[in-house]
């Protein structure tokens, strides 16, 4: 029994060595590469800003490595590492305005950082003390969504709400608002994601679909989801798609800025495919040696999103040893903070199970809560007796 697979209808899903369609502003060697279309979008970026991005990148990675360590020490049940994807997350995260709204997956710790979410709060879900401990309305950063793809529809609906609020296309930079929906290469196969494309296109909704194509959906390589580049999907739905070097924080900033501005201006959705690589395991329970080659990792290490910014800053004289050391030190302090924060995250009270199922507790639930409370009481009583 053999399967006729024939020739795929179109080209490969991955960019070729020097793909002109891949937007890149900083080479892996830290060289600034001119780009007529996107240079204007980062013309305002000063060395100070780049230092800021560098700091973001390093701190995002440090949050991540610390969380992995906390998982290894049994403080977290699980962690989904962003290792390798810092450039995509910081670049897009720093493109956002205060009023923009973010719908993340479970891996957007770097975006959360850019939004100003207390990093310790990201741990709650993975420690098992809550299902998202931050207030999504405070930093306009929604809860993590684990059901792959579901959040893209929420983002699109939210964007439709923005339209109805008249907060699009007014020209007022503090009023016009965009939404960004994060998702992965694997998620691109879900019906929900494609329905989100349709809704966004038909309604011309102010939403940016930001796909971090890290080339893996757990153990499945990109080819199990698509035979052609993901950014091209957008054209078939009637809006632009663009592929950016996801390990290039500057290019991600530029491309996302452009997409968000289109959205805020009332020009509708954009799909951004940030081409990157998941350097770590899918999550801390995953064992990638079962399905991929170490050589791949080596190849991608050379494209590290942090190293290239460091090289750029060094090369341009935008930063010196002292700066890099200071960032490293800050990273260590952040790690300390995370450790403490994590260990101090309070365990939920048993009867908290019954809180917030509904806005007002229903009588049957109150009954069940009382049942549990009495039951737990009975042990306490027994313990006192014995």
């Amino acid at each position: 029994m053999t399967v006729e697979t024939g020739t795929p209808a179109a080209g490969d899903a991955r960019p070729a060595g020097d793909d002109p369609e891949l937007v890149q502003l900083l080479t892996p060697e830290g060289e600034r590469r001119p780009n007529a279309e996107y240079d204007p979008l980062v013309a305002d970026v000063t060395d100070d800003d780049v230092r800021g991005f560098y700091r973001d990148l390093v701190l995002a990675r440090r949050i991540d490595t610390e969380a992995v360590a906390l998982q290894r020490h049994g403080e977290l049940g699980l962690w989904a590492s962003l290792l390798g994807q810092e450039g995509a997350q910081v670049g897009s995260g720093r493109a956002l305005r205060r009023q923009d709204h973010v719908f993340p997956t479970y891996r957007e710790h770097g975006v959360a950082w850019c939004r100003g979410v207390e990093p310790g709060l990201l741990l709650g879900l993975f420690r098992g003390v809550d299902q998202g401990g931050w207030d999504p309305l405070e930093q306009n950063f929604h809860l993590y969504t684990i059901v792959v793809g579901a959040q893209t529809l929420h983002a699109t609906g939210y964007a439709m709400g923005i339209q109805r609020d008249g907060a699009v296309g007014t020209g007022d930079p503090d009023r016009d608002t965009a939404v960004i929906a994060y998702f992965g290469d694997g998620a691109s196969s879900q019906g929900d994601v494609n329905e989100a494309f349709i809704w966004a296109a038909v309604n011309n909704a102010p939403v940016v679909f930001f796909c971090q194509n890290n080339q893996w959906a757990i153990s499945e390589p990109l080819e199990r989801q698509t035979r052609v580049p993901l950014y091209r999907r957008a054209a078939g739905f009637g809006f632009p798609g663009v592929r950016v070097d996801g390990n290039d924080v500057l290019a991600c900033l530029a491309v996302t800025r452009a997409a968000l501005q289109r959205a805020r201006d009332g020009e509708g959705p954009t799909l951004v495919e940030a081409y990157t690589y998941r350097m770590g395991a899918h999550t801390t329970t995953d064992d990638p040696t079962r399905y991929r080659l170490a050589a791949d990792l080596e190849h991608w290490k050379l494209k590290d999103p942090i190293e290239r910014v460091k090289a750029y800053l060094t090369r341009s004289g935008g930063a010196d040893h002292q700066f890099f050391d200071a960032v490293d030190a800050e990273a260590e302090r952040l790690a300390d903070h995370l450790r403490t924060f994590c260990r101090e995250l309070p365990d939920p009270a048993p009867t908290s199970i019954f809180d917030h199922v509904y806005v007002e507790p229903t009588p049957p639930l109150v009954e069940q809560r009382d049942e549990l409370a009495a039951y737990l009481e009975s042990f306490a009583a027994e313990e006192v007796r014995s």
């Binding site: 309305l137 699109t156 109805r164 509904y358």
Partner: protein, 325 residues
């Protein structure tokens, strides 16, 4: 007082809610110019515009999923699922997202989303147009589930559902859309959304129903009355949560309980009523709770649906069985 059919009463209730709060939206397939295949949203787009009465693309997950986003932005979307059998593509959004958002956000987020579902059989339709999927949602914590049985309730309950900050599955008995009653639009709701109602008092047995079966059971009670059997008929109205005290009180009085629905028997709503009533009224029960329901088969072709669906005679047969114990 206005004489209104049930479908028209929901339309009037929607209109009231939309007038009261500019954040109330109606969305779904064909809800605009067509006014929905049952005309429940008739005229709303004309009066409230295309931004508030939204003809969506044809995908139920998209309808509910974007409603989630709209609700997060402060809107109060009322989604229409065109027919019961087409709610299933939206299951994931309903069960994993809508039902859990308030809980998983630690109470920070609220999702005032109403999902209207014309449900049930008896209209001679083709497959997938006569389903009774309510039990799936009753089994799902975080959702409120109601079913209306008459125009007056329909008028008030749709408004109450929209006002609620919890998500509500709102089941409408499609074969009763044309049932008429007097509705006092200037009055106010006489019951909370979660309350059951004794629609007919009686002493010999308690008949529990909701949605389309309430009228069937009232007819049965009338027929039984002719044979001097006094049936108490309870309209559950809310399936989640259940208004249990009213059930217990009735069964403690009558000692017998018959629960009636169109949905398949196994794990249909009647199973929960039977389990709870037995738990709480064990010593009062003269007979086990009798379930008069659809059978455990896919909904059959229309020409044989009368045999599938509980009707007056099958309800009376259930009453007989309960009384014969």
């Amino acid at each position: 007082m206005t004489t209104m059919a049930l479908g028209k009463a929901i339309n009037a209730g929607l209109r009231r809610a939309m007038e009261r709060d500019a954040h109330v939206l109606v969305m779904g397939e064909d809800v605009g110019k067509l006014g929905g295949v049952f005309r429940v949203t008739d005229g709303l787009q004309k009066d409230f515009g295309e931004d508030r009465v939204i003809d969506t693309p044809l995908a139920e997950s998209g309808i509910v999923g974007t409603a989630v986003g709209l609700a997060l932005r402060g809107y109060r979307p009322v989604c229409e699922i065109q027919f019961d059998g087409f709610i299933f593509p939206a299951t994931d959004q309903i069960i994993s997202q809508v039902a859990k958002m308030h809980f998983r956000s630690g109470g920070r987020l609220r999702l005032p989303v109403v999902i209207r579902v014309p449900f049930g059989g008896g209209i001679g339709a083709v497959e997938h147009h006569s389903e009774s999927p309510e039990a799936y949602f009753v089994h799902t914590p975080g959702l409120k589930v109601v079913a209306v049985s008459n125009p007056v309730d329909a008028y008030w309950m749709i408004q109450q559902a929209i006002e609620l900050d919890d998500p509500v599955l709102f089941f409408e008995p499609k074969r009763r859309y044309w049932d008429k009653a007097e509705v006092d639009e200037d009055g106010s709701a006489d019951l909370s959304l979660a309350a059951a109602r004794v629609v007919q008092a009686g002493t010999d047995a308690t008949v529990v129903a909701y949605g389309p079966m309430v009228r069937t059971c009232l007819d049965a009670a009338a027929a039984a009355g002719d044979e001097s059997r006094s049936l108490e008929v309870i309209d559950l109205r809310s399936l989640s949560p259940l208004d249990l005290p009213i059930l217990y009180e009735s069964v403690r009085k009558t000692g017998r309980c018959i629960v009636v629905h169109e949905a398949p028997r196994t794990l249909g709503g009647g199973a929960e009523v039977a389990a709870r009533v037995t738990e709480e009224c064990f010593y009062s029960l003269e007979a086990p709770v009798i379930r008069v329901t659809g059978f455990d088969t896919p909904y059959p072709p229309a020409r044989v649906e009368e045999e599938y669906l509980p009707d007056l005679d099958r309800v009376l047969d259930g009453v007989d069985r309960a009384l014969a114990y």
